[in-house]
């Protein structure tokens, strides 16, 4: 039958017309708007169809926010083998408090479907004074060593921290299989090397946090990173290793790569040394699409977290990864960036006499096992600057004449 012969009921029974009524498809909207213009004689019939459609503005039976939340909690609780639930666990713990404080704000945050599920930690990214390992039961172990070493055994229950052994006991009431989620938090001035239960080695740079399970149950091996880390991932074809940061998801099978994702920096990136990784990030725009970049060795994916755009460059990977061996390597790098790295590594503040000093380009190698003063002396010999100590933790760089 032709549309022009349609009765009111014919319109209401037409699936394509339904899309126009619901305003849910832009092609349908364009088509029917055009049709109505071209067939003014159908206006009355269509008006009647719209009128009947509008009868079905029904009374809504709704759940309260609490009920919605508790229902989901019950669904999760019934999962015996928890797969990737540790991140949502953190989120739900925080949000539960939110619900009681402000239902309206909770609603606005929680119901935005295309927003990332991870809370934006950047807002409360405070680093503690000393490096710590925070266990799933909430207790924390202070890491005495500035360059600490943490090693999990295969079961994930036994930890060797520098020279001490810690046993993670099961809490009463929680099943053996429940995944224990721990965090290593490294403030400025320290770094750490963590060996996870699957044998993956992670070097954590200063100002970083690694959230990880003590044992990888489930179909993936998933960790969350703030800051910077170098990964040497143990090969496991059946369980991809996934690094989640605030803006990106990096998926690997067994390989060596470096990720930097400092919450206070706009640029986040992944550098591949060997193997193969896929970097996923949200591309900003009308419909927040997820983009995927596959890297080859000696390639770097840089993502601008504010603009949402990305770039892949060919680089010398050792430039970006030498820090794990205590060496900074750079080629024609802005002095600004070098000084920032030194600030993080030594936990001091470097002020600049004028803003142009930072744009000097500098190439070379710095051995970070030296003291900061020695490092600054080396820089002084390379670039026309001078330095002086202002007080306990502050240094000043001035222009040399």
């Amino acid at each position: 039958m032709e549309y022009s012969d349609y009765t009111t009921i014919d319109f209401l029974n037409d699936d394509y017309f339904l899309l126009w009524l619901n305003k849910s498809d832009s092609d349908a909207i364009k088509f029917w708007d055009g049709f109505i213009e071209k067939h003014p004689e159908k206006q009355l019939v269509i008006d009647e169809a719209v009128e009947i459609f509008n009868f079905f503005k029904l009374h809504k039976d709704k759940l309260t926010l609490d009920e919605v939340f508790i229902l989901w909690e019950n669904i999760k609780k019934s999962q015996k083998v928890k797969k990737n639930l540790f991140i949502p666990l953190l989120k739900y713990a925080a949000i539960f408090i939110f619900v009681f404080i402000s239902g309206a704000i909770f609603y606005a945050l929680f119901f935005r479907i295309d927003e990332t599920v991870f809370p934006k930690y950047a807002e409360d990214y405070t680093l503690p004074e000393e490096p710590r390992l925070v266990l799933s039961d909430g207790s924390s172990v202070v890491l005495d060593n500035k360059n600490s070493k943490i090693e999990y055994d295969k079961t994930g229950n036994q930890l060797i921290i520098d020279n001490d052994t810690i046993q993670q006991d099961s809490e009463p009431g929680i099943s053996e299989e429940e995944t224990k989620i721990n965090s290593v938090i490294i403030p400025y001035g320290s770094n750490s090397q963590v060996t996870l239960s699957d044998g993956t080695k992670v070097w954590l740079n200063a100002g970083s946090r690694l959230i990880h399970p003590s044992q990888f149950t489930g179909s993936n091996r998933e960790v969350m990173l703030f800051g910077e880390a170098y990964f040497d991932v143990a090969k496991n074809k059946d369980k991809p290793f996934i690094v989640k940061t605030n803006y990106t998801t990096i998926e690997v099978l067994g390989t060596k790569f470096n990720v930097f994702a400092y919450p206070d920096e706009t640029i986040t990136g992944t550098v591949l040394v060997e193997g193969s990784v896929a970097v996923e990030y949200k591309k900003d725009g009308f419909m927040k699409k997820v983009e995927r970049i596959i890297l080859a060795p000696n390639q770097c994916a840089l993502i601008n977290t504010e603009k949402g755009n990305a770039r892949v460059s060919e680089i010398d990977a050792s430039m970006y990864t030498s820090w794990k061996d205590g060496i900074f390597k750079f080629e024609l790098e802005d002095l600004n960036r070098v000084l920032k790295k030194l600030e993080r590594y030594y936990n001091i503040k470097i002020n600049q006499e004028n803003p142009f000093i930072g744009f000097h380009k500098i190439s070379g190698k710095l051995d970070l096992r030296s003291s900061l003063e020695d490092v600054l002396d080396i820089i002084k010999n390379t670039v026309p600057i001078d330095w002086e100590k202002q007080n306990n933790n502050q240094y000043l760089i001035t222009q040399k004449n």
Binding site: I9, L12, N13, N22, I52, F53, D61, L63, N74, K83
Partner: protein, 206 residues
């Protein structure tokens, strides 16, 4: 929001099937209120509906390896919830609400519309007229109209949920709409008749 980007939810479904639990939580948030509302049309027992939705999601997560990739997500979830609710009501022998799996009560209530320009009396009259017309439909007709005009579903999904052929679904919706139209016409005519008689009377008196 689901109406604008239904494709996004299918992407979430695929992610869920591959093992992403965040995806299923987003799907849950996306549909929970609609599923609950639908459940409440089948039964007034809120706790029962909540339990049924819970069981549906638990079952989805347990059986995700056996689930199909290409589905209409909303229709699929609605059908699953309905199946669970009806079976629970049968177990409870709640004969007021369910006699057997294809014979059950479906109640819908329209919301009173506030339109500017119309007086309160005209609103109420319209409201009562439409609600009365809808109440006179069979449960199946009500459910079909609910799924189509409140749930925005095409005949393919309605047919699947009601266990009909697509043709039967069209016929069902058609009959239901015809009935509503007739009842509303009758009511209008009925009113006109009363007014007409009234004037006739008064003329006489004068």
């Amino acid at each position: 929001m689901e109406k604008l980007f239904p494709e996004n939810n299918l992407i979430l479904w695929h992610k869920f099937l591959k093992g992403d639990d965040h995806a299923i939580s987003k799907i849950y948030i996306s549909y929970i209120n609609e599923l609950f509302d639908y459940g409440c049309k089948l039964s007034s027992d809120r706790d029962l509906i909540k339990d049924c939705i819970q069981d549906v999601f638990i079952s989805l997560m347990k059986n995700r390896r056996n689930l199909s990739e290409s589905i209409h997500l909303k229709g699929y979830l609605f059908k699953a919830v309905k199946r669970k609710v009806i079976s629970e009501l049968i177990k409870k022998r709640n004969y007021e609400e369910v006699i057997q799996s294809d014979d059950y009560r479906f109640e819908i209530k329209i919301e009173k519309q506030i339109h500017e320009g119309n007086t309160n009396d005209i609103q109420t009259e319209k409201f009562v007229a439409v609600q009365t017309a809808i109440d006179s439909l069979t449960s199946r007709q009500k459910e079909a109209l609910y799924l189509r005009f409140y749930g925005g579903m095409k005949h393919k999904e309605i047919a699947s949920i009601l266990n009909l052929s697509i043709q039967s679904s069209r016929a069902l919706v058609s009959r239901a709409l015809k009935k509503i139209k007739e009842l509303l016409e009758e009511r209008k005519n009925g009113l006109n008749q009363i007014l007409f008689l009234f004037f006739k009377q008064t003329k006489h008196v004068l």
